[in-house]
């Protein structure tokens, strides 16, 4: 518990002072603000590019729900990459740079180290996502006032996308414990995170994959109603088990790792 608390606090400081929180937070917030504005300007930009005299506003109808869906897509793609590259060296860099020598020599628990790091970024990214969606919801509402999305739907989207990112964080931590260089952890994380949805298209395991939560977020935003294809709790339970397995494996890898 001492190691967990010490690393939770240390990671919080590091997140601030090494600008990781700033990079991730700014990426999430910037897209939250810019996405609705870009969607609002899209018809005018297209009109100016193509010299079409037609009123494109009539053809391209954007609602608050569509703006939120667009933001969700950006979060799942660009922000995911930003998070992966910010966290890819979370364990590998510390091991490579021998930063763990003093903590290990003081008997630091590897479970405490791994869980401290995981908890810090799980909380931080969930908080950023909450702010991001709230800001996006507000701006989209201001710019597209014709249709409103139920706020409860947005809260469910925040919850589900946070769970999706919690899985990604535990995956990045595991790969960072396995690889000596952070870049390999980053590249393999990207590969796994973006290829997993394909697996759902090939095999009948779609609802057991983390990406299913993003699919369902899209769906409930489109319907403006909290109804899922299957019981989403099955997916959440599955992800909870994956996260536990990933974290336990990270601890196991760190236990066997020679860091001197």
């Amino acid at each position: 518990m001492n190691s967990f608390k010490a690393y939770l606090l240390k990671e919080f400081k590091e997140g601030i002072r090494s600008y990781k929180f700033l990079i991730i937070g700014v990426a999430i917030i910037i897209f939250a603000i810019l996405d609705p504005i870009m969607l609002k300007l899209l018809p005018r930009i297209l009109a100016s590019q193509s010299n079409i005299a037609l009123p494109l506003d009539e053809f391209i109808k954007v609602s608050q729900g569509a703006a939120l869906q667009n933001y969700l897509k950006d979060i799942n793609q660009i922000i995911n990459i930003v998070i992966i590259f910010s966290l890819m060296g979370i364990l590998s860099d510390e091991a490579k740079e021998k930063m763990l020598v003093f903590p290990y020599s003081k008997g630091a628990s590897k479970a405490g180290i791994v869980l401290g790091k995981f908890t810090n970024y799980a909380i931080a990214i969930s908080v950023f996502l909450t702010f991001g969606f709230m800001i996006n919801y507000y701006y989209a509402g201001v710019l597209f006032p014709d249709s409103f999305i139920n706020f409860r739907v947005v809260l469910v989207v925040v919850g589900l996308s946070s769970i999706y990112f919690i899985f990604n964080i535990s995956l990045i931590i595991l790969l960072s414990s396995v690889f000596k260089k952070g870049i390999w952890a980053g590249m393999s994380s990207i590969g796994i995170i973006f290829l997993l949805p394909l697996l759902g298209k090939i095999l009948p395991i779609k609802r057991y994959l983390p990406s299913y939560l993003i699919d369902q977020c899209n769906k409930i935003l489109a319907l403006n109603n909290i109804t899922f294809d299957y019981n989403v709790l099955t997916t959440i339970l599955g992800i909870t088990i994956y996260v536990i397995i990933l974290n336990v494996t990270s601890i196991w890898v760190m236990n066997g790792k020679e860091i001197a």
Binding site: N2, S3, K5, A6, L9, K10, K13, E14, R17, S18, E97, K98, M99, V101, F102, P103, Y104, S105, K106, G107, A108, S109, E258, I259, A260
Partner: protein, 306 residues
């Protein structure tokens, strides 16, 4: 206090430690010597639980390392050769981090950090980020970190190699203070002068094997042989060859008109050397005897094994 028996460690096919055994007594300062690649840091890393070993027994305070690693670590301090810190923290924050890891209360952390920062003379720099520290400052902070938990055993890996003479003197003083506090110090160093100043016992490690082990005074008694420095008036051509024919002389160093004669048998040397050099048609302008030091012993032991 520290007991190693038949300790083996290899990386791939390269044997780093080839069955070393040693015993370190409580409260002693134990010098661990050897040239680069001899296996010193590997031994230190095994003793501090940072790396595993292939076979053998490692006991600290009577407890087996493999089954009691975490418990052992609570009573051990380690200063690596190049201590690494989180560069965005300041010295006080890093010590607090170590205090939190070790389960100290906030008050204990504050008091212990202040006490240690004063001891290693980093009080004025405690709020500066460690990333901006000089190597000497990092070494001093590393020492503070290593003794934060008031360890019974302290492992120091080349603690003064990166320091200027002033810094080295300070580290030696700190080690001497630790000895007074009955802390067992396991000191790995290249600086043999430091060993002579603080160590009670030494081990010389060579190619993963122990080449020499014992109390420093006893080793000096057994191994230290006199060196005769003889200066001639004229050039010293052929003198080296002539002297080396004597069985009781084992080495000669020449420099300009000065020769240093290393002897195997001090009694014969006392009687014969002066007679021998007086036969040369080259007047002696000075003749003196000096005691060889630990460095000579080290070189002799290591060269004998090569």
């Amino acid at each position: 206090m520290i007991e190693l028996k038949e300790l083996y460690k290899k990386y791939g096919s390269h044997i780093v430690l080839n069955g070393i055994s040693l015993d370190v007594k409580k409260g002693s300062v134990f010098g661990f010597l050897g040239h680069n690649g001899a296996g010193k840091s590997t031994t230190m890393n095994i003793l501090t639980g940072l790396i595993n070993y292939d076979s053998g027994i490692v006991r600290i305070n009577g407890k087996d390392m493999k089954s009691n690693k975490n418990e052992i670590m609570k009573n051990v301090g380690y200063l690596p050769e190049t201590p690494k810190f989180y560069p965005y923290m300041n010295a006080y924050e890093y010590l607090s981090f170590i205090g939190n890891l070790s389960g100290y209360s906030k008050k204990e952390i504050r008091n212990r950090s202040k006490e240690l920062l004063k001891q290693v003379k980093l009080e004025s720099a405690e709020k500066r980020r460690i990333g901006g520290y000089s190597r000497g400052m990092k070494q001093r902070l590393g020492l503070a970190v290593s003794i934060f938990n008031k360890p019974e055993i302290l492992f120091l890996d080349e603690p003064s190699s990166a320091l200027d003479p002033e810094g080295r003197r300070e580290i030696i003083e700190i080690i001497q203070n630790l000895k007074k506090q009955d802390i067992t110090v396991f000191l790995s160093t290249h600086i043999l002068n430091d060993v002579e100043r603080v160590c009670d016992e030494v081990v010389i490690l060579n190619d993963g094997e122990i080449a020499l082990q014992g109390k420093l005074n006893k080793i000096k008694e057994d191994y230290i042989l006199p060196v005769y420095d003889i200066e001639f008036e004229n050039s010293i051509e052929n003198i080296k060859e002539l002297l080396l024919k004597e069985s009781w002389i084992y080495n000669i160093h020449e420099k300009n008109k000065l020769i240093s004669v290393y002897v195997k048998d001090r009694d014969t040397a006392k009687k014969q050397l002066l007679k021998l050099v007086s036969r040369f048609d080259n007047p002696v302008t000075s003749y003196s005897m000096r005691k060889s030091n630990l460095e000579d012993i080290f070189l002799r032991v290591v060269n004998k094994n090569e």
